[in-house]
Symmetry: C2
Subunit: 275 residues, 2 copies
């Protein structure tokens, strides 16, 4: 993979395909269909589908890094609140939902796939380091009471991840609000010194405009592409650009500055290859 534009275009196509089909039903053809190139080209650039998906996870990590960087200047309490909101957004943002559903499927393959596992571990490191950094900063500045940042970080990540997973898988939206509320009660209110109280959600459940919920889609041009594509799609066995996703110039520009892919909360993995 030499050309970064080609990569960006494949990554975008992969993102869209994942949203529409989920991970297990994702085929190489699905990805190619969202490109103006053929399926064969995917195997020209990548040795296997797994290879491609692993690169996609890598791509996600780069994005996540950038997002974390943006918050570095905020005071600990604000940063912590932002962190919470990354996880406990929505519900009601369909593209994000279906994307995270797909990523969750991918995560559950990690125990059987060392490549995925490795990437997801890296992601877990990033996430935990970030959160621990926030907590330590708060300790140093005296905004937070004495506590064990490592354990607390583990608890928060596990709780938020668990809430999201249950919301996605059993469609129980109440987990998001309840876990947020319980976390504030049991953890944040104690964490903060006497007078302070933990700030409320940034993007409240009722979004002011259709603004925030379009970020992801907009960054990747998903919505537009969907609209344009409409029917047309495919007639039998042609993998050509019927579903062409974008005009070529906007392609790399968009992909480069839009930040897409909210949180990616990596999973983890274990075990060896299957029998």
């Amino acid at each position: 993979m030499t050309d970064p534009d080609v990569r960006a275009s494949i990554m975008r196509a992969t993102y869209e395909a994942l949203c529409e089909h989920g991970y297990t039903e994702l085929t190489a053809q699905d990805i190619a269909d969202r490109t103006d190139k053929s399926k064969s080209l995917l195997f020209y650039h990548y040795d296997s589908k797994e290879d491609l998906l692993a690169d996609f996870v890598e791509f996600l990590l780069e994005r996540f890094d950038d997002r974390v960087e943006e918050t570095r200047d905020l005071p600990p309490v604000e940063r912590l609140a932002t962190f919470v909101d990354w996880f406990l957004y929505g519900p009601g943002e369909d593209d994000r939902q279906s994307f995270h559903t797909a990523i969750l499927e991918l995560r559950t393959q990690a125990p059987y796939n060392e490549r995925y596992r490795e990437k997801l571990r890296k992601s877990d490191d990033q996430l935990r380091d970030t959160l621990e950094e926030i907590l330590r900063d708060g300790l140093e500045s005296g905004e937070f009471r004495e506590h064990d940042p490592e354990e607390t970080a583990a608890l928060l990540i596990a709780a938020f991840d668990g809430a999201r997973i249950r919301q996605l898988t059993i469609d129980r939206d109440e987990y998001l609000e309840q876990v947020r509320s319980a976390t504030v009660t049991w953890v944040f209110d104690d964490l903060l010194a006497e007078d302070a109280s933990f700030p409320a959600e940034r993007h409240p459940r009722t979004l002011p405009e259709g603004d925030e919920e379009n970020r992801l889609a907009a960054d990747f041009g998903t919505r537009d592409a969907d609209a344009e594509r409409g029917e047309a799609a495919d007639e039998e066995t042609n993998a050509d650009n019927a579903g062409g996703a974008d005009t070529d110039e906007t392609n790399d520009a968009e992909a480069r500055d839009g930040d897409g892919l909210e949180d990616d909360e990596p999973g983890d993995g274990d075990a060896g290859d299957r029998g």
Copy 2:
């Protein structure tokens, strides 16, 4: 499915096959191979593979119900401690691990599969009801301080589920201990009235004998079957009883009283069918 013995035998085979292959790589043949019957019979008893798996989840729920019932007499604090241990067992119990890994894969299919989603929701109800009951009992008896049992239950389930998932997927065992410890610090220590302190883990990380970790396997005869089976297995395309799992009399007896399948912490689901 009229004959309960046949069902039990299929359930056992499904359990074993799931442990060995995981959910996504599970084939009808894999299940049949762990039976002394043919693959065709599975489709005689069930309309589809999905049908069979849905029944398997149902089967799991029945088991879980029984387990919950067993703890009903314990005082709230004890029950709560037992509950924690159900989730945060191990690591190091390989059969449980691989089983839960497989079930996690199944859970992530729930967003695309109404049948699974429905069953998993039922399981979620059971779990939450149980935990809320424990918390309310503790409130009534004065053992627990004032709090919101619903929110607290959501937090605990999400945190434990999240910890387990991260342990399974990225193979980060530390989540189990850290989340347990953080939960005791932030939640249980506050929950309990002044003097009391939350009891330690029942089956400590270093198991006294090889006793507890064999429960699951023993109940289903996994270990023995594995050992007996050894090589032999299959030569080309015969689905006969080369891997016969048990002598026929022991079959139903075992399946009937052994309780197998520890916790099953159901996930949830959403969305519609795939495109």
